[in-house]
Symmetry: C2
Subunit: 338 residues, 2 copies
DNA sequence: GCTGGCACTCGCCGCGGGTGAGTGCCAGGG
DNA sequence: CCCTGGCACTCACCCGCGGCGAGTGCCAGC
């Protein structure tokens, strides 16, 4: 096991490297942090830390930089979450409070998070999986053409066009609308299939085809929309990545455009609490030099979606984690209110 | 006026520079293009072109590169639009045909355009300004809470929550819904304010407050949604920008995140036909080393929105213009069908 | 187990010469 | 009058070199 001081040395190395972006040597360390020991001692500690794989030297006779494993230890054992200051918290709230609809909430959240962390922000739209149906509406656009509108408790609205196999009267429509809503309103998405199972049979033979089409479209929408959408922002911050960056930045931009990749990325985060994925811990290889800090957020006690930031492994973990947590909390509040 | 051959020299310079990304000299030019004259002659022509500001040398005793003015002349006089090949056209159509809804159409268009041009693609959602109302729906969510859903002929759906000043009965609701639709369905957005002007008065005193609220929300939505949304993609292509790129890429990424900037950018394009903005011709200074090729597209004969690509001034203009035009054409078709 | 001392490594920086692509100019020829 | 070949000149780029200094590992001593 590593001694207390060696952990302290690791912490100091991470701190300095994050700040300066340059390999940090033993002398500089003792000067900037009052460790109470000489450079030579620190050198021994560094040798030990390197032996264990927590730090590495880019080339012989250079300072050390933390490895992914080193950051992992730092995040798990050495770093706390730096809480936001009161003014910062107020600013967050003010910024989010003006939002007028869901798109706006998500948009503001992305911008805010990108600005606070100076990194790339990713915000998932509130998931439909755990959501409930607020209302289902059916509109007749033409004799044999309907529009299905699905409204969720998170304020999301989805619509689908439906071409009916046969004309469908206004009374039948009103009937279907009423029955559908009495069954599914307020219920969870996952329960809907069961709830509407036998609805078709109770209609006139003439209308059964249309009813079946409507129902299957509804179920389809539920499934389709469980594949989440998301919004990203702050990509300009990628330019602060490092010196070597054409090589670094390209795969990251590519990964960010693959919504599937990002969703998986966020999806891997544990449901509650914050998740930090460091470097190669990320499944996607384009992101092997980035870290992802993510957390769930939600309107109630349950998380309905996730948000997070993507930045270089060399990032200010405590600060980033603090910002992510604070933003998630306030977004949750906003959603709960609306 | 510039002689025919000098224009040919300029064309050759643009062609080679776009291909190689390196200043092009007189000898190389005569070798690659059979101009029928010697390097010395070309040098004289080059001197003249430089005199007029169409080309420049990065430093003495280096080859020439085109200036913005040079590209402008090239685009206006020397370059045609390179039409897509038949297989390419088929691929475009196939790629777009599978789209299920408006978001999907726009999403696919962005990806397609980015891939075809290997540059950053920007697609504006079909504008509501020129659109007509297909249907307005009112749903009662709670005794004093309504939801307004607006459906446009381009398949876009917008919703707004409305808190009523007083409870509003189902019959009144149905009444309002019917009267509203009979007045505005099929009409242009711009005509709506006039059409609903006197609607409030025809209702019971008790309901007038709510009706007024609904109407003002509707008008608000029309106005708000005239501010367009857009989608961008292919940002990873920015890495192919050039060598010096931390400096170049950063302001571009920033500009791309400012939707307002992009909208203005596309907005400046003339209504019909293709617009090419080169380098400093772009109002936004972050984009002073990029060119924007944009064109309107629409479901009918009228353009309802715009799309385009953003790339380095050193781009393949004929090819890019061809791709942009082709994609716009097909998107228009798709929208017209749905 | 910490410390100071010491020899060593090696990336970074600035210097200097050689190379070659490219230029401008000029005199001569169709 | 315009094009051409020739010629001297410029200057960015490449490469090798040596000095510098931060940083290291090791070791003997307290």
């Amino acid at each position: 096991m590593l001694s207390e001081r060696r952990l302290e040395v690791l912490r100091a190395i991470v701190h300095d490297y994050v700040g300066t972006e340059e390999p940090v040597g033993s002398k500089a360390l003792t000067e900037r942090h009052h460790l109470g020991v000489s450079p030579a001692t620190v050198r021994n500690d560094m040798a030990a830390l390197e032996e264990e794989g927590f730090i590495a030297q880019p080339h012989t006779s250079a300072g050390r930089i933390p490895t992914d494993k080193g950051y992992r230890l730092f995040v798990d054992k050495l770093a706390g979450v730096k809480p936001m200051t009161a003014p910062e918290r107020r600013a967050i709230q003010n910024f989010l409070d003006g939002a007028v609809d869901l798109d706006d909430v998500v948009g503001r959240t992305v911008r805010l998070l990108a600005q606070l962390t100076r990194q790339v922000a990713v915000v998932q739209y509130p998931s439909l999986t755990r959501s409930t149906v607020r209302h289902v509406e059916l509109l007749s656009l033409a004799p044999a053409r309907l529009m299905l509108v699905l409204i969720t408790d998170t304020g999301r609205v989805e619509q689908r066009m439906i071409d009916c196999p046969a004309p469908f009267g206004e009374t039948s429509l009103a009937d279907l609308r009423a029955r559908l809503n009495s069954r599914v309103a307020g219920r969870r998405f996952t329960d809907v299939p069961q709830l509407v199972q036998d609805l078709t049979e109770s209609f006139d033979k003439d209308d059964q085809g249309t009813v079946a089409t409507v129902l299957s479209t509804l179920l389809e929408t539920l499934v389709e929309e469980t594949e989440e959408r998301l919004m990203i922002g702050g990509t300009a911050n990628l330019t602060r990545f490092g010196h070597d960056f054409p090589l670094t930045i390209r795969p990251v931009l590519e990964a960010l455009e693959e919504q599937v990749v990002l969703l998986k990325l966020l999806g891997e985060a544990t449901d509650s609490g914050m998740t930090v994925k460091i470097g190669h811990e990320n499944a996607h290889e384009g992101l092997s030099s980035t870290s992802v800090v993510s957390v769930g957020y939600g309107s109630g006690s349950e998380a309905v979606a996730k948000l997070g930031v993507v930045g270089p492994t060399r990032m200010d973990y405590p600060g980033t984690m603090g910002a992510v947590r604070a933003v998630a909390r306030y977004v949750g509040q906003i959603l709960a209110e609306s």
